[in-house]
Every structure is written in structure tokens, then in C-alpha cells.
């Protein structure tokens, strides 16, 4: 049962009767939207937090000194790294030892590389000879710094066959 109390026109209304459409509440809308934008800006800003600018891992670029006695086809494995560096008449090159299947480190053998995890086999130039690996081991960038010293950049791949002059 509803009753409309008497009084000044439009002064008091019953709870069952909806109010007339109010004037646009600019202040309230502005206040709420500015709060939302501010908090949204804060949220977006803090989304970058989980990714630190540097991580506690060694740099992907590192220097190596090749031993003089390295023969062609014999890999040089810098300790703590996952590349194999070769030197032959054409120059110096480095092949990543991270298996392209699921990331295990391949072991080198006389005729190339073998992955102990699922049996993929690669030739000495990284191409796949057998196994579940979908593509060849990538060659990574090598730059000559001084006689016998080279900078290897694991994060940059180069086309297979690229060799840096010794």
C-alpha cells in the first residue's frame, strides 16, 4: 500500500516510488572517474614490478679466449655456458647447445651432438639428423675482440654458416 504524504510538491516520496531522473551528478561522476583513473594508473604502473630490470643471471654476452691448440671440428666448451665454439680455416663460429626440442643440453660426440633427454641427434654444423628435435641448433653471434679473444652473444642468432674471421 502506498501513500504519498502531503507537503511541498516533490518534497517527500515513498520508498516504493522511484525518484525522478536526477540531474547529471557531474561532481560525483568526475570524482568517481578520477578515482578510477588514478587507481587504474597505479595498477598499470605496478604491473611492471614483477619483471626486474636485471636478473641474477650471467650476461648473455661473454668473452672467451680460444686455446691455440684447438683443431678444426673440435669444440671448445666455455665453462658454465651452453655453446660450443669451433675454429676452422674459414673462421670461428659458435653453435648453441640447447636442444631445440625441449631445452636439454646436448653432449658433443665425434660426429656431432646428441641430446640425452629424448635422443635427438645433430651433425657438427647443428642440423638435425635424427630425433624429435624440430629444427637445427642455432648458430650464435661471434665477434672478434683481439687475437684469440672473441665475444659470444648467446642472445643473437646468426644464419647457419656464419663464421668470424680468426
Amino acid at each position: 500500500m502506498t501513500t504519498t504524504p502531503s507537503g511541498p510538491a516533490g518534497a517527500a516520496r515513498s520508498r516504493l516510488e522511484p525518484e525522478p531522473m536526477p540531474r547529471r551528478d557531474f561532481l560525483g561522476l568526475a570524482a568517481l572517474w578520477s578515482a578510477a583513473v588514478a587507481l587504474g594508473f597505479a595498477l598499470i604502473g605496478s604491473l611492471r614490478l614483477p619483471r626486474a630490470a636485471v636478473v641474477p643471471a650471467p650476461s648473455r654476452k661473454f668473452r672467451i679466449t680460444l686455446p691455440e691448440t684447438l683443431t678444426a671440428g673440435e669444440p671448445f666448451l666455455p665453462p658454465g655456458r651452453s655453446v660450443a665454439v669451433f675454429r676452422d680455416a674459414a673462421g670461428v663460429y659458435a653453435i648453441s647447445r640447447v636442444c631445440t626440442h625441449l631445452g636439454c643440453l646436448v653432449k658433443n660426440e665425434a660426429s656431432g651432438f646428441q641430446c640425452p633427454c629424448h635422443g635427438s641427434r645433430f651433425a657438427l654444423d647443428g642440423s638435425v639428423t635424427k630425433g624429435p628435435a624440430p629444427k637445427a641448433l642455432p648458430w650464435v653471434a661471434v665477434t672478434r675482440v683481439a687475437a684469440g679473444t672473441y665475444m659470444v652473444d648467446e642472445s643473437t642468432t646468426v644464419p647457419s654458416g656464419t663464421k668470424e674471421k680468426a
Partner: protein
């Protein structure tokens, strides 16, 4: 209006009626989604505003309608919501800091350095975390003062006052446990003092010769530190308390605290609040106009009265939007204050903690410096005795003050503002006199080197000050024939004492806890 489930056998080629209905529904998804979110429609009528509140999992802790007296700025100054907002800020920034902080002594300090230098927004987050924690402690203390001075602790709100005291203790605990985590000189030595204060009951058990059989002090210290010294055990315990145990306890207590507000009938108001808040705004209209004295059953489970029964001409407003604007406003103000502080002042980080090189002076966090000032005379009294007396006194206030005169008004009760002002004078004079005396002349042991420690435990600046305040309070009770008057005097004195002791401990104590007028006078080394 929904697309019907009738089938049509119209041939393929051209939009069939079913296809049309499907496309219509697809286009209407945004509107329908919004409508499904708000089960009762947009909160433009009182009915929809009400169900907006009680139909929402997160919001239905609020009352659907709030008295206009409650919404006045001068009633609460938003201090409770400010404390909660500060807590939310510390919670969010704390969780973000947990991505990088590592709670083991060998790496903790370095992880904080990394947060400063290589984590995007890291230094900013840490600053906000630290400042929001300070704001929370200040807000909690001011909130307690507000509740006291408006006598809002009176029946039926005594238990909520007790919950509030528990919240105060948990807040200080959160601040204290967080203090150790950076593992720098400031942290290490502040917690050394804190742990030794935890051990201070030994002062009493030693004097009574009981320590060999009954050593609560040693037990407290060991449980806190997990070991005899402050090392990786202490750090991991403090971390556990800081990020898990105490926040959960705080959240639970906050829930109870807000629920009690509902059940206690909202904020405390003066008996004549309705008249004083004046005629209602034209935008509002009366509730319960039809039968204001009727009882309402709540889901027919309990027969009884709701707290809102017996209200006369309407003085309540819907929580949506009135209360929510107030809460949001206070929240954003707290955010703003914390941001300003964070941009101008960096959270401190001194050298790596070095157990071989004590900080001199080694100071506890600022909210404990008043206690540390007292601890300088008696470890037990300053560390445990006086705090326990203070907390006990505060807890008893609502149970001892059962008067009704002045509830809901600032400085309400016999005596009023003038009593409070006079108590400020008494409180300040007493604490300043005691401090000046002790600083200038020393205390008992300087004059009587062989006096047993138990004498000093019982007679020291802290106990003397407490006795003076208590005597004054009792005098007020007699003078005004009112417990409330005594409580007003005692609480005011306590605030003044706390303030002065904290200021002395912060600014006027230097190496070896000697008195200096300014840090420039501190001796080198």
C-alpha cells in the same frame, strides 16, 4: 524479451528468425552483462540502493542506511577508515615487495637494495609501504582518542572497544615485526632492544630469586627469536608474523570490529542527535513512515526488535552513495598523503647489520621510544609493567564508565573541554617535571649505589608518573562525582605523557642514552 526457444523451419539462405534472435542477443551482451551484475538495477531508488548494499558480498558488511550524524566529518574525522585504508595500502605494497624480498640474513639486505635500484617502482613501493605503516599507527592512535573523547565506548559498545585495543596491539606488532626485515643496523639493534625488553620480566624474577625455576622473560625472548641471538631464526619468525599471522589476525579482527558496529546500532550518537542534525535534505525521504513503532522480524528466525526501531522522523541516508563517497574520499586522501610522503622522503636503509658494531644510540621504532625512555630506568616497568597497566586501564574504561551523559559528543560528560584542557596542563607538567628531575639529578642508583633493583623497579619515573596520573584521576572522580571525569583526566594525561616521552626519546637522547639538547652536540664516536 529473451529470444524464445521456438523453432522455425524457414529455409536456409537469408537470416532466419533464429539467426536474427541470436544476433540480437549477441549485440545486447554488454547491456545484459551490466544488468546481470546489478541484480536490482542501477542504484537510483532507495530500494535498489538498499539491495546494492546488502546484495553484495563485499559491501553487505555495511548497514543499508546510516544516520546523518555519523556522516558528519566532525563526528569521526574518518580516522577509522583512514587506518583501514593505510592497512590496505601496506597490504598491496607489501604483497608486491614480497616478489623480491628474501627473508634470510645473507641475502635480505641485498634484496632490499635490489628493490631500490633495479625493480621498476621498487623504491616507490617500499616508501609507500613504510609511510603507510606510519600513517596506520598514527591513525589508529588518533582513532582511539576520538572514540574515547566522544565516549563512544559506552554500552553496548564495550566489546568493540576491546576489539579495538586488540587491533592496536596487532598494528604495533605488525609495525614491529616489519622493522627487522631490512636487516640493516637500524633494524638489528632496534629489535635487539625489543627482544631484551621481552626478557625484562627477569628483572623481577631475579630480584625474587625465581629465575632458575620460573623464567617467563627468557621464554618470551626465546620464542620471539627462536635462538639466543638475532639471526636467521629470528628473521624467519618475524617474517612469518609480519606477512601471514598478524595480517590474518588483523583482517579477522577488523571483520569483527565492523560487524559489531552494525550490531551495536551504528556509531555512537548523542541522545538528541536527531534534532541536532536537523531537517532532512529534500533529496531524502522518510523510511518507516507507516508504522515506526512496529517490530520487524528478521527472516522470521528471531522475533525481536531491530536496532532501528523506535526512530522518529527520518534522519538516515542510504549508505549508497553517501557512506561510500565518504569512505572513498578518505581512502583517496590517505593514498594522497602517503604518496606525498613517499615522494619527498625515502625509507631509510643504513649499513648492513653488524652484530659487532652496536648503533649508539640504538633506538626502537618511534612509537616505542616513549617506552624506551622509561626502560632506561627500569627495563621491566618500562617494557612490560607500564604497558600492561596502560592496556589494562584502557580495557577497563568502558566497563567502569557506565554513565550516559555526553555519549557521542566531543569531550562529552561532566567537566567537558575545560576539564580536558586542565588535564593537559596537569599531564604535561607532571611528565616534564619528572623527566627534568631524572635528567638533571639521575635516579636512585646514582645516590644509593647499593639499593636493590626491586626498589628501582617499584619506584621509577614511569611508576611515579603513573601514580601521579592515577591520583589525579581519582581526585577528579571525587570532585565531579563521575567516573567519566576521572577517565577523561586519566586518558588526557596518558596522551600527554606518551607524547612528551616519545619526543624526549626521539630528539633529546643521544649516545649512551645521555641527554643532549641537539644532535649536533653528540660526541663523535
Amino acid at each position: 524479451m529473451t529470444a524464445g526457444s521456438s523453432r522455425s523451419t524457414a529455409p536456409a539462405g537469408g537470416a532466419t528468425p533464429a539467426m536474427q534472435r541470436f544476433l540480437h542477443n549477441l549485440r545486447a551482451v554488454p547491456r545484459q552483462f551490466r544488468a546481470s551484475l546489478l541484480r536490482s538495477g542501477a542504484p537510483t531508488t532507495d530500494r535498489s540502493r538498499s539491495s546494492f548494499v546488502f546484495g553484495n558480498l563485499f559491501l553487505h558488511l555495511h548497514a543499508v542506511r546510516v544516520h546523518r550524524w555519523t556522516l558528519r566529518w566532525a563526528t569521526t574525522w574518518g580516522l577509522g577508515i583512514m587506518a583501514l585504508s593505510a592497512f590496505l595500502l601496506t597490504l598491496i605494497t607489501g604483497i608486491l615487495l614480497m616478489f623480491y624480498y628474501k627473508p634470510y640474513p645473507a641475502v635480505a639486505y641485498d634484496s632490499i637494495k635490489d628493490i631500490h635500484f633495479v625493480v621498476p617502482t621498487g623504491q616507490f613501493m617500499r616508501n609507500i609501504h613504510r609511510w603507510a605503516a606510519q600513517v596506520m599507527v598514527v591513525a589508529v592512535i588518533l582513532h582511539m582518542a576520538r572514540v574515547f573523547f566522544t565516549a563512544a565506548y559506552r554500552a553496548p559498545r564495550e566489546y568493540n572497544w576491546v576489539i579495538g585495543m586488540a587491533l592496536l596491539v596487532v598494528t604495533l606488532g605488525l609495525s614491529f615485526t616489519g622493522y627487522l626485515l631490512p636487516w640493516d643496523q637500524l633494524a638489528y639493534w632496534a629489535i635487539t632492544i625489543g627482544a631484551n625488553i621481552a626478557q625484562s620480566p627477569r628483572e623481577v624474577t631475579d630480584a625474587l630469586g625465581l629465575t632458575a625455576f620460573f623464567d617467563p622473560g627468557g621464554l618470551q625472548r626465546f620464542i620471539l627469536l627462536g635462538s639466543d641471538d638475532i639471526g636467521e631464526e629470528a628473521l624467519i619468525r618475524f617474517y612469518l608474523l609480519h606477512v601471514m599471522i598478524l595480517p590474518l589476525a588483523l583482517a579477522a579482527l577488523v571483520g569483527v570490529h565492523f560487524w559489531r558496529i552494525r550490531k551495536d546500532g551504528g556509531m555512537a550518537k548523542p541522545a538528541d542527535a536527531d534534532e541536532r542534525v536537523g531537517a532532512p535534505d529534500v533529496q531524502t525521504y522518510p523510511v518507516f513512515t507507516e508504522a515506526p513503532t512496529r517490530t520487524y522480524h528478521l527472516a522470521a528466525i528471531v522475533r525481536g526488535r531491530t536496532p532501528a526501531v523506535g526512530r522518529g522522523p527520518e534522519r538516515t541516508l542510504p549508505a549508497m552513495p553517501h557512506l561510500f563517497y565518504a569512505e572513498l574520499g578518505v581512502f583517496m586522501l590517505t593514498v594522497l598523503v602517503c604518496l606525498v610522503l613517499s615522494l619527498v622522503s625515502d625509507a631509510p636503509l643504513k649499513e648492513l647489520a653488524n652484530p659487532a658494531v652496536p648503533e649508539n644510540p640504538a633506538k626502537a621504532p618511534w612509537y616505542f621510544l616513549g617506552l624506551q625512555e622509561l626502560v632506561a630506568y627500569s627495563a621491566f616497568m618500562g617494557g612490560m609493567g607500564i604497558p600492561m597497566i596502560v592496556i589494562l586501564g584502557l580495557l577497563l574504561i568502558p566497563y567502569l564508565d557506565r554513565e550516559t551523559d555526553g555519549t557521542g559528543d566531543w569531550f562529552g560528560g561532566p567537566g567537558g573541554l575545560s576539564l580536558v584542557l586542565r588535564s593537559v596542563v596537569v599531564g604535561l607538567v607532571a611528565v616534564l617535571a619528572i623527566e627534568a628531575f631524572a635528567i638533571r639529578f639521575g635516579w636512585i642508583r646514582e645516590w644509593f649505589p647499593h639499593v636493590p633493583q626491586i626498589v628501582i623497579t617499584l619506584v621509577n619515573p614511569g611508576t611515579v608518573l603513573t601514580a601521579i596520573y592515577a591520583a589525579y584521576s581519582v581526585w577528579l572522580v571525587r570532585r565531579y562525582d563521575s567516573t567519566r571525569a576521572g577517565a577523561l583526566g586519566l586518558f588526557t594525561c596518558f596522551l600527554c605523557g606518551f607524547l612528551v616521552l616519545t619526543i624526549v626519546g626521539t630528539h633529546f637522547r643521544g649516545p649512551n642514552w645521555d641527554f643532549f639538547w641537539s644532535p649536533s652536540q653528540w660526541p663523535v664516536h
